[in-house]
Assembly symmetry: C2
Homo-oligomer: 210 residues x 2
DNA sequence: CCTACCGATCGGTAGG
DNA sequence: CCTACCGATCGGTAGG
């Protein structure tokens, strides 16, 4: 019975996951203590360890929760990925949207890539290779049809664009302002993403002859 | 007198900087202890603290050393940056080369961007804004001359390409293999960089009419 | 979900 | 450049 209004029901576990995500993204796994996380939720450290038996299992749970959300979005993405120039836009924007919706997802992935490269390699093999191969085949078909630049290296192109989408959102807050202020963060983000999509598309497709 | 062959002269300080760079890049600032660094050099922790009075000053020194090296390379870069399509290649390749020469530089910058975004914002203002403005003006001139795509957003484009160059090398070891193995790391890196340069150029310049 | 407590390790100092 | 040591904090456990 939530009589005090601060703890709604018994979603302590999900609140722990949320605060852990936020703090791991902001200060890193080693830079965050269990005390930081538990007190952000309003409980003591041993209580956290009741929900997550160790710090490392908490880290794994944080990543698993994010990947589970990605698997929810993936069907939409694959549906949009069948063919055509407009569909390409949709795939990029849908993927970017996943990370814009919560930039901590991007920061978490970049940190994990730096801290545990072998783990990220495994996740890539599991979560992105399947549909990366599909995209590569789509690119090669486009090259045969003359819609895609002949000198594109499909595998490397896909790797670069994935990397660009994730890391540019992860570090957006500080690398976004190369040439000074003058715009609101929202405006900068919007320009940033539009240019990201433009780069991805313009470096893939030949200009349409119109 | 270096009689034992392990310590050449008294470059303990520079060896500490080298090992600190390597360990901060690999495991992060919070994930690296002063003991790790000092023992990698073969001395005790208090001896490290004689050369660098605190862990935070060591971090600053590591970054300063890297930025000093960048300032040595910058003149070559600015000389090549004057005009033309071939020159654009030279600038990108020279910049990429700086980070390929030692990928720890890229990892250090990405980690710093995540850990201390305000600090990286300041460094960007100091080290990259000056010549980023020059590049933006060059892009705008190219747009007027019809050599550069009209819909390029110069500021965002520069931010994206800088971000791409650094982060793709920082996380190359794990994100490079989106579509499976089969190539040596050297071959993969070479393909990766070639595609990176192609994306940068192809998304900027209009196809030459030949 | 709590209090009380554990050994280990942290960055840093004293003193030589 | 070392040994010896400091208080603080770490992840984790006992026990309720």
């Amino acid at each position: 019975m939530p009589s005090d209004g601060s703890t709604s029901t018994s979603d302590v576990r999900s609140r722990l996951l949320r605060e852990a995500t936020r703090l791991f993204a902001a200060k890193g796994f080693e830079g965050t203590s269990l005390k930081d996380i538990s007190e952000a939720v309003g409980i003591r450290k041993p209580s956290l360890l009741y929900h997550f038996p160790s710090k490392d299992l908490l880290r794994q749970s944080v990543l698993e929760q994010m990947l589970a959300r990605w698997n929810e979005v993936l069907p939409n993405l694959l549906r949009a990925a069948t063919s055509g120039v407009g569909q390409f836009d949709a795939v990029v924007e849908e993927t970017v949207g996943f990370f814009v919706e919560d930039p901590d997802r991007a920061r978490l992935l970049v940190r994990e890539a730096l801290d545990r490269p072998a783990h990220i390699s495994r996740l890539i093999g599991e979560y992105v290779r399947p549909w990366a191969i599909i995209v590569c085949n789509y690119i090669r078909k486009g090259q045969q049809q003359g819609r895609v630049h002949a000198d594109v290296d499909p595998e490397s192109y896909v790797a670069q664009i994935i990397n660009l989408m994730i890391s540019s959102i992860a570090t957006f807050q500080c690398v976004g302002d190369v040439t000074g202020p003058g715009l609101s963060p929202q405006q900068r983000l919007s320009r940033h993403i539009r240019e990201l999509c433009r780069v991805a598309k313009s470096s893939l497709f030949l200009p349409t002859a119109n």
